[in-house]
Symmetry: C2
DNA sequence: GACAGTAGGTGTACGCTGTACACCTGTCAA
DNA sequence: TTGACAGGTGTACAGCGTACACCTACTGTC
């Protein structure tokens, strides 16, 4: 019978993590509570604690699952192409798991999987002729873009189920906004193609990600070529 | 008597927000609960709801208080100097309010104060000769650095009260780490001055912030000079 | 001066969270 | 056969945000 069949698939850390990831994919990260997750697995909440130490460790594990989906770049490319490929692969993964951004940002401790990934990224720079010193700083400069996402600058994650306001209402809102915030209006209309009714339409996140990435990678390459060293920092002045 | 004196200072949205900010400064953002905050104000939790709509609106207000402390740049500078000064001022503020990073990142809706600040930043670019189009993208590229902080790439926020492990233990940990993660070890030792015992010491966040900022600002200036436009994007190839 | 309206503080209650602790049960080794 | 133990259960607790009903003190109007 079904009950026995369910019994025959015992819980395991792996099964717990997989279901947690699936639940987050389906219902959002805020739906992932110990109780809800246990219910999904047909089990009492405390049963989970035999497989993960607690909620925090659960989230760590979920992040590790995500990182496990990152694909390494093809060999034989220069550092810039390799890094670009690696990060765009990471990006594809976090787009698939939209909750991952928040989960990654909330983690304080770096798991072995996280360290392994960072080691690979660092290795790409080092292998490309970057000094260890410069590698350190450029990785800081990449920041969360290492994980395949940019910070959300504008509010693009409004309730996806909500009906968008009609175009004329949008145009009115935009006009009102423009009186207070002319510069924001200027860039919003430029993005929307000079059409006031398209202002709230959100940005092309993929383009923004690649744009910023390329500005950074080009800047890094320039520093590498110039033999930049942090020991020069005093001679740089404060611009 | 004291009770009457307390009565004579009635609650107000301003007083609630100020105390919330103070509490977050002293005890961390996670200590700011409606119950705890009410207690600090000598009042019952539900009393707060007469002044802020809920926890979310409270956090919005706290972020607005922080933004209110950002200083505008001195006039008469070129765009790059003005922006640098503005962002470093923002940075000084969020260093003062260490919880602000998390609070800002958690907000979904942009308040008027937030929009006003973003408008000022955008205005600096526009005034510096950037097209509205390019301004949009460079602001995305700055991302959270607009708010004066970089993402935390390495784990620098370990329990500040915890005693650091002794140097020889650190060196042992570093050696073990190095076998698994040689590239990380390389950059860590470069940072710590080739001294294994200094590896876990954390980074100079201020330097990392300015480093990344300058890479970005220099890249932006180059794009501006070249007359970059997003319409060129197809001709750029995919590198 | 009487009275209604209201702004603002109170008390209770509900449903949700993570998880400590004691308990039971089925499986496997000796 | 027995005893250990891995793993699932049940109860309980402290904390959270907040809905709702209530009370109280002040304020403007007649």
């Amino acid at each position: 019978m079904a009950e026995e069949a369910a019994r025959r698939v015992p819980l395991s850390r792996d099964r717990v993590l997989r279901r947690a990831v699936g639940l987050a994919d389906e219902a959002g990260i805020e739906a992932v509570s110990m109780r809800r997750l246990a219910q999904e697995l047909g089990v009492v909440p405390m049963a989970l604690y035999k497989h993960v130490a607690g909620k925090d460790e659960l989230l760590d594990g979920m992040v590790d699952v995500v990182i496990g989906e990152f694909a390494p770049p093809d060999p034989g490319q220069d550092w810039q192409a390799a890094l670009r490929q690696r990060l765009l692969s990471a990006r594809a993964v976090v787009v698939r798991h939209r909750w991952a951004r928040q989960a990654i940002e909330s983690r304080r401790k770096r798991s072995l999987a996280v360290l392994g990934y960072m080691d690979a990224v660092a290795g790409t720079f080092l292998g490309g002729g970057f000094s260890a010193d410069l590698t350190h700083h450029v990785m800081h400069a990449l920041g969360n873009r290492i994980w395949g996402f940019s910070p959300e600058l504008f509010d693009e994650t409004g309730d996806p189920g909500a009906a968008p306001p009609p175009p004329e209402a949008r145009a009115a809102m935009a006009r009102e906004l423009g009186e207070r915030f002319p510069s924001i209006l200027a860039i919003a209309t430029a993005t929307a193609g000079d059409d006031l009714s398209g202002v709230g339409g959100g940005c092309d996140e993929q383009f923004e990600y690649e744009f910023a990435l390329d500005v950074l990678l080009d800047g890094f390459e320039r520093l590498r070529r110039d033999g930049w060293s942090s020991r020069d920092r005093d001679q740089q002045g404060d611009r």
